[in-house]
């Protein structure tokens, strides 16, 4: 399936989630059910989604602290004094961050990186941005490879830097890594030019979005927006 409908759907859905008033706890429950259904339809393993959700963890931890440090009226929970506003604020961040991240994970799990970038291009993102992004994606693997080789070379010479105090050799190798990767990229680019590269990658298997795709977008985002607007009206 083409990427543009998915990107548009993801973005609009997250906006709906972000605008939902935090008091409407039922709305967030419905969102969660919908998202689980979508994960099921897309046949993504639940474990995959959970491990990716861990990336949001630092901010959720931050959100957990808020009820204790926030101001305003206080109440008791299991004998500990917490702020009411703080509890709502923590819930707000927790729910929206997790649900928003789930939508993003849905998008990333079903779309290849280069397809996402090309989809952005179809959505009128300037070609400069998409071409740099495409090169970035290609070079990520290159850099990871070079880094792996440098680490092997370092440990083969018995050096295993870990602490902040030994950051100088790491940073030095970072600089050397940059130059090596760049020169490799230069050679690759020259080879591409000599084989007739015109500046944009030919889209070999980028499918075009069909009407059915866009109907699906309207259906899914419509569902989320109906709930969001309903929550706003009821509140």
């Amino acid at each position: 399936m083409a990427a543009e409908p998915k990107i548009v759907a993801a973005f609009l859905t997250v906006v709906a989630i972000a605008l939902t008033p935090r008091e409407a706890i039922w709305a967030f429950g419905v969102y969660a059910v919908l998202l689980v259904a979508l994960v099921r339809i897309a046949r993504i393993p639940y474990g995959f989604v959970m491990t990716r959700l861990v990336a949001v963890a630092p901010f959720v931890v931050f959100a957990l602290f808020i009820p204790f440090v926030a101001g305003g009226e206080r109440t008791e929970v299991i004998g500990v004094s917490v702020s009411i506003e703080g509890l709502w604020g923590a819930w707000n961040i927790y729910a929206k961050a997790l649900l928003g991240a789930s939508v993003s994970i849905l998008l990333t799990a079903t779309t290849e990186v280069s397809d996402v970038v090309r989809g952005l291009g179809v959505l009128r993102v300037p070609a400069v941005l998409t071409s740099i992004a495409l090169f970035m994606v290609r070079y990520l693997e290159l850099i990871a490879d070079e880094l792996g080789r440098m680490r092997v070379a370092m440990s083969a010479r018995g050096y295993d830097p870990r602490w902040l105090s030994q950051v100088r050799p790491i940073a030095n190798s970072a600089g050397a890594l940059f130059v090596r990767s760049y020169e490799r990229g230069e050679r690759v680019h020259a080879a591409m030019l000599s084989r007739g590269f015109s500046g944009t990658m030919p889209a070999l298997r980028h499918p075009t979005a069909t009407a059915t795709n866009w109907y699906a977008v309207i259906l899914v985002t419509g569902a989320f927006w109906v709930i969001a607007v309903g929550a706003m009206v009821v509140a």
Binding site: F59, G100, A133, Y139, I143
Partner: protein, 328 residues
Amino acid sequence: MHAPDGFLNAGTAVATGAVSLGTVGLALRQVRERLKDKAVPLAGITAAFVFAAQMFNFPVAAGTTGHLLGAALAAILLGPSVGVVVVTIVVVVQSLVFADGGLTALGYNILNMAIVPAYGGYAVFRLFRRVLPKTGGGVIGATFLAAWASVVMSSMAFSVEWLFGATAPVSFDAVFAAMVGVHVLIGAGEAIISATAVGAVLASRADLVSGAADLNRRQLGDRRRVRTRTFAIAALMVSLVFAAIVSQFAIDDPDGLERVAEDTGFAESGSEHALADSIFADYATSGVGNEPLSLAIAGAVGTLVTLAVASGIFIGVRERRSRDPATV
């Protein structure tokens, strides 16, 4: 510092989104002029590099880790507008492809992690390039300070946004103190890594560093350490900024001893300071009505007086030693 959705309210998300869109759009115009064929791969590889570098966490304090931001590095290597575009791409791809950073948070994530540190860091870089010697060593020194400043500026930007769009009743003072405090430490790691990386690139491919484009080969090869006098001037400037500007954000709550004194009740037994009527009592300049200005003057004067006295003492000790041939 990749903020998730719902961290700041909708108004702030929209406003910062508009600012980011406009700024990146302007930067793109400049980029199109400057970016010739060869430079797209270079921009792509810097983006990949920044992306990969952001994955490495290093410990800064108990239980907290920091990671490289890379915006100042990108700005110094590629120029500020290309640097901003590169880091914006990194942030967007991280959000869209790796679910790192909310989709609705892109506005303020781009502002905090790409625009502010790239342009701000580059400004600090140019400032210190003027002050430091025109050599390779000077470029590295300027990179060090610019990278540090860029991280601190980034955290300040986030705190200011919290002032307008907080979704939880945590005070601006608390957020500012926590964010900026931690990021001053993280900035140290960023500074070391950026400076060393630029040094390594200067050594082999100096043409890739646009911030050093005005240096000829002899100057580039001059990697003498920054002189002590230059370092002292730079340190003085930083101290004055802290004393006059950063002190404005200091929290007025009592410190440990005062707090204990108030709680246990022996605060009353303290008598007034003998010099309570002096010009600068309580870190305020008497006769200056404007509160921030009075605090700034008191801070600056205090810094300069301390510098003078300390220098005098050390010069005196040093001369004493050199006069006595027995002690070396």
